[in-house]
Amino acid sequence: MALFGSNRDISLFRHVNRELMGNVISQQCVFYKHNLGKTEVNMYGEATEGRFFHNPVLLYTLVERQDQSYQESDLGINFAWNITFKFLRDDLVDADVVPEVGDIIMYQEGYYEVDSTNSNQFFVGKNPDYPFTDDNGNNPLNPGLEGFGYNVSIICNTHYVPADKLNITRERL
């Protein structure tokens, strides 16, 4: 049996994370999950009729902002702002949200489309979702390994999207 990173330890980390993100840092964003069922696409896979999203979910996050940039092109000046949103994976599990490319995050009245997601921050290098168990549910080399390790975060790299390109209207938030 592994010794470090048990469920109890992870529970402590979870408490610390939620206290830190919820009570100390307290940065929030609104997550709009793409509703693929309602979004109609043409033969090229383009959502010509507009994009539809599930109801928004308010989440604590750690925000890493890059500098805003203003790029000139033949069409004028573009506004660009890339932001990285770092979520505690347990919060997403509780909210039943799986971030994917194309989802929208609202932050400071701006909308940011997810370009990529990363979920590779594992405590003691173990992801408890892959315990290599046999038919009896035990790891043959290390029984109980599924109770160790921690998949800490999901990190979303995003870019700014003008609001008029989205089918999102702020109603309650």
């Binding site: 470090f4 469920n7 109890r8 330890d9 992870i10 529970s11 402590l12 980390f13 979870r14 408490h15 610390v16 994370n17 206290e19 830190l20 993100m21 009570n23 996050t61 750690l62 890493e64 990285t84 770092k86 979520f87 505690l88 994976r89 347990d90 599990v93 921050q121 405590f123 109770g147 921690y150 800490v152 975060s153 999901i154 990190i155």
Partner: protein
């Protein structure tokens, strides 16, 4: 997703919530347990910050604090009274006993000196004798002990080998011939001081000092003018002076046997041990139980609360210190576990020191010294009052 609950601000104590349950049935302990938990959590920062402890953690610390308080208290009592406790029956607890010092242990400790001085003690003196032989000056008493089947060796305490008492010669009806040795001495002694009387045949009423002087004269004469009866004893080998003669050791003779007192060395070694079953033999079996929480006064309880806080702080520090860093999304943070452990340990040491100083300042010795100082100060103060002048 296992989620271990942490302190949420409230708790309800039930008997059985502490590891040992020493005080669980004490009503006041039950009442204070939840208050102490709240006190400690608040002092640790709740509700501003989360406290990764449970109510059981606080109860555990609380129980330990009361136990440590009792340990310190009764250890102090033992320190102060061990001489009186040693040998006491372990039958009943002493928690509520008033202890009156006794001399028992002092007397017991002094027995060794009495034994060496031959005036008491705890080792038997045995009597033995050897038969002297004419012309033999040296006698090995160790060999004698072996011949008597005495194991472990003997130590000679006293040898009865000396001249006949001078008084024997003084009152001899044979004017010094009675013991066979006194005549010359007596005649010489008395002759030397020119009295002309037989020493024991004087029927005049003489002062006692006369008899004393005569006895001393006989003794000195025996010592100086005759072979002094003496011996040398080294490593249980006895050398006699003078060498016994045929007349000395003749059957029924005055020195046919030489008597001596001795102890078995094993007896002295064994005298150090007394069966102490059911008796207090050391600090560990002085019959003190855990204290009764409801009997601890507010001074003591205040200490208990502070010590509970120190323990809680240390416990929380250990929890936060298991991993030096804790992962957060995309980064790591360092918790204050090490600081908490250090603070907790420092607080514990300070509290223990404070408690011991408090107890030591109320020891019997300290109280008597204080009383003595008070008395001296009082007398000095009274001495400042001007003396009245009496005019008769």
């Amino acid at each position: 997703m296992a989620n271990i609950p942490i302190w949420n601000g409230t708790s309800t104590f039930y008997p059985g919530d502490t590891p040992f349950g020493f005080y669980d049935n004490d009503y006041e302990f039950q009442q204070d347990a939840d208050k102490v938990a709240k006190f400690c959590a608040s002092r640790l920062g709740y509700p501003i910050s989360e406290i990764e402890l449970q109510s059981g953690s606080f109860y555990t610390a609380f129980e330990e604090a009361v136990t440590v308080y009792g340990n310190e208290l009764y250890a102090y009592k033992v320190r102060d009274n061990m001489l009186s406790f040693e040998g006491l029956s372990t039958g009943s607890a002493l928690n509520n006993s008033i202890i009156t010092p006794t001399m028992d242990s002092i007397v017991r400790m002094s027995e060794q000196y009495g034994e060496e001085a031959g005036v008491g003690g705890n080792v038997d003196y045995n009597l033995g004798f050897i038969t002297l032989e004419s012309g033999i000056q040296d006698y090995d008493l160790a060999d004698w002990a072996v011949s008597q089947s005495i194991t472990g060796g003997i130590e000679i305490k006293r040898v009865f080998y000396q001249e006949a008492p001078a008084i024997d010669e003084l009152y001899s009806p044979y004017a010094g011939l009675g013991a066979g040795f006194g005549f010359d001495a007596q005649a010489a002694a008395l002759g030397s001081i020119g009295l002309g009387y037989g020493p024991g045949l004087n029927f005049l009423l003489m002062p006692l000092s006369y008899d004393m002087q005569t006895i001393q004269a006989i003794e000195m004469s025996n010592q100086v003018r005759q072979a002094n009866y003496s011996f040398q004893l080294i490593n249980n080998k006895l050398r006699l002076f003078p060498i016994p003669t045929d007349a000395d050791v003749a059957d029924g003779g005055y020195r046919q046997y030489l008597w001596f007192e001795y102890i078995n060395k094993e007896d002295r070694t064994n005298s150090a041990i007394t069966d102490g079953a059911t008796k207090v033999t050391n600090e560990s079996n002085v019959p003190f139980n855990n204290p009764t929480y409801s009997s601890i006064n507010s001074v003591g309880r205040s200490w208990v609360f502070e010590y509970t806080l120190a323990l809680s702080k240390e416990m929380l520090g250990n929890i936060r210190n298991k991993y030096s860093t804790v992962p957060i999304p995309g980064a790591e943070v360092q918790l204050n576990g090490a600081d908490l452990v250090a603070q907790g340990q420092t607080s514990k040491e300070a509290l223990i020191t404070r408690l011991r100083e408090y107890f030591d300042s109320t020891s019997r010795q300290a109280l008597l010294e204080r009383r003595q100082a008070e008395s001296a100060a009082r007398q000095s103060e009274i001495g400042q009052v001007p003396m009245q002048i009496y005019i008769g």
